[in-house]
Chain length 122, copies 2
Amino acid sequence: MNTEEIAKKVVELVRKQAWYEALDTLYDDNIVSVEAFSMSGGSPETRGKEAVRGKIDWWVNAMEIHSFDASDPFVGHDRFVVQYDADVTDKNSKQRRKLSEVGVYTVKDGKIIREEFLPRVD
Amino acid sequence: MNTEEIAKKVVELVRKQAWYEALDTLYDDNIVSVEAFSMSGGSPETRGKEAVRGKIDWWVNAMEIHSFDASDPFVGHDRFVVQYDADVTDKNSKQRRKLSEVGVYTVKDGKIIREEFLPRVD
């Protein structure tokens, strides 16, 4: 798949909240996934498909997802961007909040090799 | 300035359509500016501040800008993203159209060293 096809597939799967299917079908084994902040004071970078699977496990277990919207993708060369707007409740703290961020994805040889998540700044 | 400060400044200046001020104050001399497509069959990459000034000259001369909106920035580490939605008429062809794209910016040592423009794909 080329960058545009992968971008459209990411949007399709995220809209279905099919996180594991996206990981298994679209991601390179050596994916680097970068958050803006680290959750536990460690590195904001996660390396490798199985480590990213752990992030999805955390997300699915920690959050009650009221809604999760993905924009149409923005595509150029080996890069694409998708905006996500979510309404979630942290199951632990019971705190409900809205998340707005973009994912910046890099594609190589038909797989996603890097993703960076950038939260909206008011 | 850090990444967030530069991101906010880009948004402030673009909302005023102060393209040259943004270039002169926020961009590195060795800026690399990447379009999704090349306009004349050449490289989609433009290198250096003066070459990017030429792109702005082209834009300002070629387009009648009815509106140009910039989103709040999305920021993480050395990267930020801004979504642009414009309503323009090409002065030459008289064709009016809406543009929707994101700019993906990379910052180093307080200056923008790379920008990539990715159009929205329906």
